[in-house]
């Protein structure tokens, strides 16, 4: 294992120190990353969190127009209730707090416990579950939350920034999730610092289809193929679940170890695919946003926009990981 770390035990702490040093707009306290300028009276607070290793998600999306606080857990391990309780209290401006939770058993349980235990703060929650690689069913854990988390955080954050009440912010968050789908493909495994070796072995000639963001193996292995074919597999999965229609926000997301150049190669194919279905990419994002340590690969997330959501997407945002309009 080759990593720029001091030790497997300290990596989350060390990275948070780096974030604090790099971004005066953030405050890091007891494993919670806050906006330095919060809480704002009357503004709904947005709290998210999850295992570390997905950077810039979530801490990199703390700031104006997005999250008020992020709770980073250990690598790939959901945060504990204490963190979430602290964050929830810390960002409450009197208008209540929205918990944005990716649908994983651990995240759900810890956020639920925190929501039960926190006192004096109105809490609403939204569950992000956009990954079409996972069979959805009443009897399973359901779909994972992956790329759409960024969309939910951005658009709900924009609405909260405008002063909308908790119920509305929660409703938009749920709507964005509802309208979003993701699918991911890995070329290589990631290596967690504690394990010290790749989570899965993948031959030089194969890729994993339908991977999540924790190095979980995917649903199937297929031979390595040109970007065009891999993009088509991902897009077929998305289109099969939620037909591509109208205006789309499209993110081609790198898993952490894939260079930007390759993501643009994939984006060209994705854009052509969308066009082929008669839909329009009206907003896009290409880069490493919701990652899985140093995994090579990509995911595509698509959200069916309407005018209201487009407006929320375009609204100013000022975070370490996403910034425009200010």
């Amino acid at each position: 294992m080759k990593k720029l770390i001091n030790s497997a035990d300290s990596v989350v702490e060390d990275a948070l120190n780096g974030m604090a040093a790099a971004h005066p707009s953030l405050r890091v306290r007891d494993r919670v990353v806050y906006r330095a300028d919060g809480p704002r009276p009357g503004k709904v607070g947005l709290v998210s969190g999850g295992g570390s290793g997905h950077e810039p998600l979530h801490a990199g999306f703390v700031g104006h127009g997005m999250l008020d606080a992020a709770c980073p857990g250990e690598i790939f391990t959901s945060p504990v209730p204490d963190q979430i309780i602290e964050a929830t209290k810390g960002v409450d401006g009197g208008a209540g707090v929205l918990h944005i939770v990716k649908n994983y058993t651990g995240d759900v349980l810890n956020f639920e416990m925190a929501a039960e235990l926190v006192e004096g703060v109105e809490v609403a929650g939204v569950l992000v579950d956009d990954d079409v690689a996972v069979q959805d069913s009443l009897y399973t854990a359901g779909r994972r939350g992956t790329g759409a988390t960024l969309f939910v955080e951005k658009m709900a954050g924009a609405l909260a920034e405008e002063g909308a009440p908790l119920a509305e912010v929660a409703a938009v968050a749920a709507e964005v999730d509802e309208r979003s789908r993701s699918f991911g493909i890995a070329l290589t495994s990631c290596t967690t610092p504690a394990a010290g070796k790749p989570t899965f072995d993948l031959p030089e000639t194969e890729v994993e289809l339908g991977i999540g963001i924790h190095g979980e193996p995917g649903r199937a292995r297929v031979p390595l193929a040109p970007a065009r074919e891999l993009a088509t597999m991902a897009m077929d999965a998305l289109h099969g679940d939620l037909p591509l229609r109208g205006d789309l926000l499209v993110m081609v997301n790198g898993m952490g170890g894939t260079p930007l150049m390759e993501l643009y190669v994939v984006f060209a194919e994705v854009a052509a695919y969308v066009k082929g279905k008669g839909a329009r990419v009206t907003r896009s994002l290409v880069g490493n946003y919701v990652t899985s340590l140093e995994m090579q690969g990509f995911s595509v997330t698509v959200c069916r926009l309407d005018d209201a959501l487009t407006r929320l997407w375009d609204a100013p945002v000022e975070t370490p990981g996403l910034r425009w309009g200010r």
């Binding site: 250990e74 391990t77 945060p79 504990v80 994983y104 651990g106 349980l109 989570t199 979980e216 193996p217």
Partner: protein, 205 residues
């Protein structure tokens, strides 16, 4: 003293988990995210610190302290689940502790896990080790078995339950994302539950 016995349980469990940390993580790598061994090791280390720092007064308190610490320190799925198991056991355990009382408290703990995780037997989770262990304990109590025999049977049931997860397709937890590819692997949480039961049999058996 019953308190010491429960402390010894967590000491032994910590020892077993640490010794098997890499195996647990490997099991989790195959069908999850390669952190179960690390998670539990970290959590149990904190539990021992907590027990040493402010020694509880009863066996029940040992259990609630351990449960609370696991919830506060582990995160992930296993933190709240194991945490609830021990917290609920602690709440339910009456003094003086009898085998029947313990078996009843354990059953309440397992039910708490099932409720929280919305998991039933056969979903390929820790429940697949915990529920058979609880059942074995209850049977042993009914039959008036010795403590050591009862705990030995519970440990065996947990161990068999864990192995029985191998052919199952997961319906809960991270392994469920793999669909059919989860078949053929032992569930890491079931494996660690078997270690907890083995630890108990070894200190109290």
């Amino acid at each position: 003293m019953e308190r010491d016995l429960f402390v010894a349980w967590f000491e032994e469990a910590t020892r077993l988990v640490r010794a098997d940390r890499d195996r647990l993580t490997r099991l989790d790598a195959a069908i999850g995210d390669a952190d179960h061994g690390t998670n539990l090791d970290r959590g149990l280390t904190e539990v021992l610190k907590e027990l040493a720092g402010s020694p509880p007064e009863s066996g029940a308190q040992v259990l609630t302290t351990a449960g609370t610490t696991l919830i506060r320190r582990v995160g992930g799925a296993s933190g709240p689940l194991y945490g609830s198991l021990f917290r609920q056991m602690g709440k339910a355990l009456e003094t003086p502790v009898t085998l029947a009382g313990f078996a009843g408290a354990f059953e309440e703990g397992v039910v708490a896990v099932e409720r929280l995780g919305k998991a039933v037997l056969g979903d390929k989770t820790m429940v697949d080790a915990l529920a058979p262990a609880s059942r074995a304990l209850a049977l042993a109590v009914r039959d008036g078995a010795e403590v050591s025999v009862a705990l030995g049977q519970a440990a065996r049931a947990a161990q068999e339950g864990s192995k029985a997860t191998i052919p199952l397709q997961a319906r809960k937890g991270r392994a469920s994302y793999l669909g059919e590819r989860s078949v053929g692997h032992e569930d890491p949480g079931a494996a660690s539950a078997a270690l907890f039961m083995a630890a108990l049999a070894s200190v109290a058996g």
